[in-house]
């Protein structure tokens, strides 16, 4: 057993991880806080970390365009994983941090990953002024309305400015997002309205880019049911200004559990539950030894959505400790636009 195989164990408790949902997210969460319906999220405090919860992320995806019209995708994610529901200073802190960054072009997919121990100042999040960082990667600003985003990998760096004046979107019921029929849930809010300007540095040279970005904030202690194996998740920017976040959690035996949020062009937010949105795989591709659906038909009849989404780059495989597929998509059909697709648990 090498360290690579070992670290999941180390990182995410002693449980036999891989058998129980993606990245151990379906395991028991003894001693950790549990999301409760009716909790009112408070900002800016809730932009910061919640160490009493087992898992948390600051998840940003951006659909960008270069001067020549080329599509680019950018991902910046900071995960927090708690071994115990407490904070301690120094090396004995049970808070472990993990960062994923990626740049996707139609032909290439650049990935970098960072790991850090909490308690020694190598990684962490402060709510106000807002700063999330691991090593040299940063997502920081005075608050969430204006952010500087940077990351670097062996073959890329990026530096982006994100701006929005729009309010946050609370998913589920006032930010309480149910993930299974058994009641697994997370706190989940988003900021889907960023406009982006900045620069990518890729092996072929610097690329000035503009575009749109979407920030997801989610924390929980057991976001998946034990029987759930993975999820397919989309965040779509429609050309008419509307936004759609939707996911379906795949259960053993082929059942799924879905949910999502529709944000109209005018800013009206409507969340929907299981069964309202359908996602149908249209085309699979072979990536990293797995068959991954990279083209989907997505229907949300309540909002007249019947679109086909297709990966900008089929090979947007995140070859990280917990591998998954995450990449930009093009939208055609009833609506046009760009978005992000994330798929986990395909083994």
């Amino acid at each position: 057993m090498n360290v690579k195989a070992l670290l999941p164990v180390l990182l995410l408790l002693a449980a036999p991880v891989l058998g129980q949902g993606f990245a151990g997210l379906g395991t028991e969460a003894q001693g950790f806080a549990r999301p409760a319906p009716g909790t009112v999220l408070e900002f800016p405090a809730d932009h910061g970390a919640h160490p009493a919860f087992r898992i948390e992320w600051w998840y940003l995806t951006a659909n960008l365009v270069g001067p020549d019209g080329t599509d680019y995708g950018v991902q910046w994610t900071l995960f927090r994983s708690a071994l115990a529901p407490e904070t301690r200073s120094g090396w004995s802190s049970p808070q472990i941090w993990m960062g994923h960054a990626a740049v996707t072009t139609p032909t290439r997919h650049f990935v970098a990953e960072r790991l850090a121990r909490g308690g020694i100042g190598q990684a962490g999040v402060t709510a106000a002024p807002f700063a999330a960082r691991i090593d040299d990667w940063r997502m920081a600003g005075p608050d969430l309305s204006a952010l500087r985003l940077s990351a670097s990998g062996p073959d890329f760096t990026y530096d982006l400015s994100l701006d929005t004046a729009r309010p946050l979107v609370l998913n589920g019921t006032a930010g309480y997002s149910v993930k299974s029929a058994e009641g697994q849930a997370s706190y989940y809010y988003s900021q889907p309205f960023y406009t982006v300007r900045g620069r990518l540095d890729l092996p072929q040279g610097p690329v000035p880019v503009t575009g749109r970005a979407w920030l997801d904030r989610e924390w929980s202690s057991q976001p998946l049911a034990e029987t759930q194996e993975g999820w397919d998740w989309i965040s779509l920017h429609f050309d008419n200004g509307a936004k759609l976040m939707g996911f379906r959690l795949r259960q053993q035996g082929g059942e799924t559990y879905g949910s999502g949020t529709w944000v109209g062009a005018d800013g009206t937010v409507r969340t929907f539950g299981d069964g309202e949105m359908t996602m149908t795989p249209l085309r699979e591709t072979r990536v990293a030894g797995r068959d991954i659906p990279v083209k989907w038909r997505v229907r949300l009849p309540a909002h007249g959505v019947d679109v086909t989404i297709e990966a900008v780059n089929d090979s947007a495989w995140m070859d990280t400790l917990f591998p998954y597929w995450e990449g930009p998509v093009r939208i055609t059909g009833s609506h046009g636009g760009r978005g992000y697709l994330e798929m986990t648990g395909y083994d």
Binding site: V3, A14, W91, P94, A116, R117, Q122, P154, T157
Partner: protein, 803 residues
């Protein structure tokens, strides 16, 4: 045809089982000693590699402080925040009872894959690993040795770790080593992000070092292993002598058979192929036995080797063997190659043998004078080469080449020298019997010369190594008396305890002398810097080889440094030169002291300068000067009143005993190999005499017929062997002393960095001479006894012509 031919060829061995035994045993001994030594070396090297792998030093670059000292973890965080993908390691030594532990603190989260022991798994989770008291992974024997120890993390067995190493989380290591926030070095991941700031901007004072192909420790232990290899090679050569002789005889005695076979139509190529196959089969059989023997030798010697390496170099090598299939196959290959080399000449002769030449067997023993001339020429050439190497050679390899040239040259010259001596004796002999005795001995010399050469090598090696060891022991003992002048040595458990200890000791002793040191590079190699107090203890006793006037004053004032002999030789520093300390501070060298038994370079500076340059130096160890009459009482009071653990209080006598123990162990293996080499030589002698004895009858029978009894002849045979052994011993003496000189003045200097005065020990020589005579006598006793019991009928066969 092949079967019939093979049967004809092999029948020889059944009729001459002694030759078969001689060949097999010779080959098995050669293979056994060689593979045994290789097994020991391989095991040690494997341990070094594992040590290097443990820290990732062999594959990953590291970042260290320029002065080699620990640094704060804030610099690690700063580097990470600048994008540097590095992972911290804190390393240090800790004593639990009598066990010296190496604590290895790692960060499993940031360590590159495989940079951290794979075994830090065990199915346990990260949480107990990082939460005090933590979890420590260790080799099974270390876990059981630490069974009842308190104050340690929970112990988990991890296969593949070196004994004495505890792998813990870096946070736990900081607690165990009382080094909060400290980092020894950073492992640099092979993949780094683009566009990160240069190291010097982010963390001035830290330097990056390339991956080291070899562990530091293997640089230090090279000499030791070279020493073993040299012995293995010597034994191998001696063993091959035996094989060469046995094969040569077997071929010579079958010359008639070869001719007959060829005359009746066996093609030459087929004959050669069959003979080659015969050699290979014999070699495989003997090789198998040899490899098994090698395993036995290695298994028997390894615990001593491991103890030596631990004592002398601090290298951890398990005392048990763990050999790969490759080693076994390699051993067999060595046996086959050795047999092939030993029989090449004989095969060549068969190849060149004219079909129609008279088939009368040429007496094998009657080697031509020409070959002796060629041998002597070769010996002279080797002597010249040895001289050239002695004059101009540099380094360890040249030292061993010198040894090889010298020994081989001496061995090759032996037959000619002995022949000349015997010729002289023959000329001065008056009686017919004496004249015959000398002439006949000379006649036999070619047949015995290989065995005698083996004996010469074994004796010379014995004298040489014995002289070196004894010289070393004598010098070392005297040196220890000088070096360990203080009465008591104590170690505090923590800085706070050390401070209390100083206060407590002050009114109770004559002086409390700090033994504080930091490790760091000196002249580009691992070294250490000690702080020395300004005290008479040093001025009066310290074993100085060279010293400038006023040196101690200048050292005390922080204006000069003293260095050990190793550093002087390695760095070419002489008093007056400037020495760069770890971190860059430079001081003039004011003197050189001898420092036997220490593989590293060392420097001594004033203790005030040491604490100024290296504020974090641990101040735990002290030497105490006190009235010798009060030593026992003070030691007791330190334990009972002050509360030091008994293990932390050591008196002078015990340290001396420990040092001598380590020293003795260092040469245990050498001594064992020495005995084995001697055994091989004795065996060679026995085999040669036995094979010769079967060919001796035609030479002895006429003498018997002319009026000597068999008893008289047997005594003469015994006397001949004893005389040859004695002569060889006499000739081995100067060779052995030369060998000792080379070992002391060339090899030791190159290997360890110190030169020892040579002392002579004639009593040892007398013992060895007795041993040589015993070996020769024992080897000759059996053939002599056989001669004594030979039936007259067998002797008469020599004269028979109608049978």
């Amino acid at each position: 045809m092949i079967r019939a031919t093979l049967a004809a060829l092999m029948s020889h061995w059944w009729r001459h089982p002694l030759q078969l035994v001689s060949l097999a045993v010779g080959l098995a001994l050669a293979t056994g000693l060689w593979t045994g030594v290789q097994a020991i070396n391989g095991q040690a090297r494997d341990s070094y590699d594992r040590a290097a792998r443990l820290l990732g030093q062999n594959r990953f670059a590291t970042i260290e402080a320029a002065d080699g000292q620990r640094f704060g973890q804030a610099r690690y965080v700063a580097l990470r925040r600048a994008g540097w993908q590095v992972s911290p390691v804190l390393e240090g030594a800790m004593r639990v009872g009598d066990l010296r532990l190496r604590i290895l603190g790692v960060d499993p989260v940031t360590a590159p894959p495989d940079a951290v022991p794979r075994t830090v798994t065990g199915g346990g989770s990260l949480l107990p690993f990082i939460t005090p008291p933590g979890v420590a992974f260790a080799a099974p024997q270390t876990v059981s040795a630490l069974d009842a120890a308190s104050g340690l993390p929970a112990l988990r067995v991890a296969e593949g770790l070196l004994p004495g190493v505890l792998v813990v989380d870096i946070g736990i290591a900081q607690r165990l080593l009382s080094a909060p926030g400290a980092v020894s070095r950073l492992i640099v991941a092979p993949e780094q992000p683009v566009g990160r700031a240069p190291l010097a901007d982010v963390a001035p004072g830290l330097v990056q070092r390339a991956p080291q192909a070899r562990a530091d420790i293997s640089r230090l232990t090279d000499s030791f292993h070279l020493n073993l290899t040299a012995f293995g090679l010597l034994s191998f050569a001696v063993g091959l002598f035996i094989v060469h002789a046995a094969v040569g005889l077997a071929f010579e005695q079958r010359r008639t058979l070869f001719r007959t076979l060829r005359a009746i139509g066996v093609p030459l190529v087929g004959l050669i192929a069959l003979l080659g196959a015969e050699i290979v089969v014999l070699a495989l059989g003997a090789g198998l036995a040899g490899v098994a023997l090698g395993y036995g030798i290695a298994a028997a010697l390894l615990p001593d080797v491991a103890a030596t390496l631990r004592g002398l170099y601090g290298a951890s090598v398990p005392g048990t063997l763990d050999l790969s299939a490759g080693w076994w196959l390699g051993g067999l290959a060595v046996a086959v190659l050795g047999a092939a080399a030993a029989s090449a000449q004989s095969l060549w002769r068969v190849w060149r043998m004219p079909l129609l030449a008279p088939a009368q067997p040429r007496a094998w023993a009657r080697a031509s004078a020409r070959s002796m001339v060629a041998q002597s020429a070769l010996a002279a050439g080797l002597a010249m080469a040895a001289l050239a190497l002695a004059l101009w050679g540099q380094g360890l390899v040249a030292g061993f080449a010198l040894l090889a040239a010298m020994l081989l040259g001496a061995a090759l010259a032996l037959p000619a020298v002995l022949s000349a001596l015997l010729w002289g004796a023959e000329r001065t002999a008056t009686g017919a019997l004496a004249q015959w005795f000398w002439a006949d001995t000379r006649q036999q010399l070619p047949g015995l010369s290989l065995a005698l050469m083996a004996l010469l090598l074994a004796l010379a090696a014995n004298i040489g190594v014995g002289t070196m060891v004894a010289s070393f022991r004598q010098t070392f003992t005297g040196w220890l008396d000088q070096r360990l002048a203080s009465e008591l040595y104590v170690t505090a458990a923590s800085e706070a305890q050390a401070a209390r200890l100083r206060t407590w000791l002050a009114p109770r002793t004559d002086a409390v002398l700090p033994i504080w040191s930091v490790e760091g590079p000196l002249a580009g190699a691992p070294g250490a810097v000690f702080g020395v107090a300004d005290h008479r203890t040093y001025r009066d006793n310290w074993p100085m080889l060279r010293i400038q006037p006023g040196a101690w004053d200048r050292v005390a004032q922080g204006r000069a440094a003293l260095i050990n002999e190793q550093l002087m030789r390695r760095a070419g520093l002489v008093p007056g030169d400037m020495l760069r300390l770890p971190g860059g501070h430079a001081l003039p060298v004011a003197g050189v002291y001898s420092d036997y038994g220490n593989p590293r370079g060392e420097a001594m500076i004033g203790v005030d300068l040491l604490t100024a340059l290296y504020p974090q130096v641990p101040r735990l160890r002290y030497a105490i000067r006190v009235d010798p009459a009060q030593v026992a009482a003070l030691a007791r009071a330190l334990v009972e009143d002050f509360g030091l653990p008994p293990d932390n209080v050591t008196d002078q006598a015990r340290i001396k005993a420990m040092s001598l123990g380590i020293f003795e162990q260092t040469f245990t293996v050498t001594a064992a190999l020495n005995v084995l080499t001697m055994g091989v030589a004795g065996f060679a002698m026995l085999m040669s005499l036995l094979t010769l004895s079967t060919m001796r009858l035609p030479q002895l029978a006429p003498v018997w017929a002319l009026g000597l009894t068999r008893a008289r002849l047997a005594w003469l045979e015994l006397g001949r062997a004893l005389m040859l052994a004695a002569l060889t011993m006499v000739l081995a003496l100067p060779v052995g002393l030369l060998l000792a000189w080379v070992l002391l003045a060339v090899v030791n200097v190159a290997a360890f960095g110190w030169r020892l005065p040579m002392h002579l020990f004639p009593a040892d020589w007398a013992r060895l001479a007795a041993l040589a005579l015993l070996a020769g006598g024992l080897a000759a006793a059996w053939p002599a006894l056989r001669l004594l019991r030979t039936a007259p009928a067998d002797l008469l066969k020599v004269f028979a012509h109608e049978r």
